[in-house]
Amino acid sequence: MQLTSPESLIFWTTIIFVVFFILLRKFAWKPILGAVQSREESINNALASAESARLEMLNLTASNERILQEARVERDALLKEAREMREKMIADSKAEAQVQGERMIEQAKTAIAAEKNAAMAELKSQVSTLSLDIAEKLLKNELSNKEAQTKLVENMLGDVKLN
């Protein structure tokens, strides 16, 4: 390369470069770098908030699941309790009914027995009264005439065998 006057290019390069640098720094690099940085920050923020929203969502789902699980367990427990209670009640009432029934039967039996005895006693008295009445009527009837009376006495005497 043919070396030309060095001062020309050195002088102008220095001036142009320094001025170019100062102008660009003020009017281009500051706004561009600022915009790039602020956008990067906004992107990062958006990503971070999306991530946190996702985590929150996940938490929410998990807690929903947990609540549901708890509810299910509670429901199962309740159902079980109810079933047990029902069975117990049934068993209890069965037993009570049995006892009651037995007692009632017993009472009925006693009552029946008492009634029967009473009826028997009544019947007996009735029968005896009736018998007496019949006997009375029969005797009255038999002893209304002489002949019959004699016959009776004869019959009776006939029955009674003298030994």
């Binding site: 390369m1 043919q2 070396l3 030309t4 006057s5 060095p6 001062e7 020309s8 290019l9 050195i10 002088f11 102008w12 390069t13 220095t14 142009i16 470069f17 001025v19 170019f20 640098f21 102008l23 660009l24 720094r25 009017f27 281009a28 690099w29 500051k30 706004p31 561009i32 770098l33 915009a35 790039v36 956008r39």
Partner: protein, 380 residues
């Protein structure tokens, strides 16, 4: 694959069909054209019809700086975009158009500017009287013969290109920065293109090398050098006016950038950084007379390597492309042009990769050096 097959064959056939036409029709014009170009390169012997083609001169003139922007040649006359020449002479500041030199670069054409006689040799402007006293070697190294020439602050091709790229880039980035006010959503358009690069510089260059705590302070500088070098690398690859300047392949330019990185590094150096230079931990005190110069050389070699790396990579790419183009004129046949063209295409694509890569490397190493200067060691 299937879609692309047919047009490719068609193109190939069309190209083959055209080759004889081109080769039959053009040798004369071509040689005249070569002659013209050579005549322009060596203005002194304009009367010669044909001269030995000198690829070195051609390449040197293309990768070097210039007072005018050469656009094309028309019937043997160069069409140029003349740039202002700004000189600090013994009589003060002089500004005039480069047209005054009439494309002369051999020291033959004397220009009279307000009574001062000036000549130009290899793009360096001398006082005519002092120029006569210089030997050829001194003339060739005229760039540093400060007593024989006025100080030259001209808007050269590279300065012009740098102005243009800086203005265009500034407005592009301004538009992008403005777009963020209106569009709070995901970036689109130019911002969508620029933003990944900005975040790339931030996340892959600044953060890992400088550290989470301090990187933000150096982001504007790193972004500026990254885009400044990258865009100027790309501008240098576009082979026509108003691009094609070899700005990033100019060692003065890379020197300034490397020097700025050096200043930034030195100014941000903390206690540990200076401690390592002047009192390297773990080294006996009596070694200090050796260690301190070594460390200071180490401080300087880092930006020096930056300067040479960018300059050499970009210039090498330009030289290879220009050499491949020159092959056509060296072999003096148009038949070499498909091969040469294919190689030029390949190299141009490779250079586009190198353009981005060198911008990345320069920025990465700047970040690394700054990172070393601001690193907080918790040692010993």
């Amino acid at each position: 694959m299937i879609i692309s097959k047919k047009p490719l064959q068609f193109l190939l056939v069309a190209f083959m069909a055209c080759v004889p036409y081109i080769s039959n029709a053009n040798p004369l014009i071509d040689s005249v054209h070569v002659a013209n170009e050579i005549v322009v390169e060596h203005h002194a012997e304009a009367t010669h019809e044909k001269k030995e083609f000198n690829a070195t001169d051609l390449i040197n003139s293309h990768i070097g700086d210039s007072h005018e922007f050469h656009i094309a040649d028309w019937e043997g006359h160069p069409i140029s975009f003349y740039l202002p020449v700004i000189l600090w002479t013994n009589n003060g500041l002089e500004v005039f158009s480069a047209e005054a030199f009439h494309h002369d670069n051999t020291g033959e054409h004397v220009v009279d500017v307000n009574g001062q006689k000036l000549v130009r040799f290899n793009e360096v402007i001398f006082y005519a009287d002092k120029y006569e006293e210089l030997s050829l070697d001194d003339r060739k190294n005229g760039a540093f013969a400060f007593d024989a020439r006025p100080l030259d602050f001209s808007i050269t091709k590279n300065v012009f290109s740098m102005f243009m790229s800086a203005i265009v880039m500034f407005f592009l980035f301004l538009v992008v920065a403005r777009s963020y006010n209106k569009n709070k959503l995901a970036p689109k358009g130019l911002a969508g293109f620029l933003e990944p690069l900005v975040t790339f510089v931030r996340d892959d260059i600044a953060r890992p090398n400088i550290g989470e705590k301090q990187y933000a302070k150096y982001m504007p500088y790193l972004l500026t050098i990254f885009f400044f070098i990258w865009i100027n690398n790309l501008i240098g690859l576009i082979p026509f006016f108003p691009f094609s300047s070899n700005l990033t392949g100019n060692i003065y330019f890379t020197f300034v950038l490397a020097f700025i990185t050096f200043i930034v590094t030195t100014l941000s150096g903390n206690k540990d950084y200076w401690g390592h230079i002047f009192n390297t931990p773990g080294v006996p005190v009596w070694l200090a007379p050796i260690m301190i110069p070594v460390e200071i050389i180490g401080m300087l070699t880092k930006p020096f390597a930056l300067m040479i790396r960018l300059f050499a990579n970009i210039t090498a790419g330009h030289i290879i492309i220009l050499s491949l183009v020159s092959l056509i004129f060296i072999f003096d046949t148009v038949w070499i042009s498909p091969i040469s063209g294919a190689f030029v295409l390949f190299m141009s694509v490779l250079e586009m990769l190198v353009a981005a890569l060198q911008a990345y490397v320069f920025t990465l190493l700047s970040a690394l050096f700054i990172g070393q200067a601001v690193a907080e060691h918790d040692h010993h």
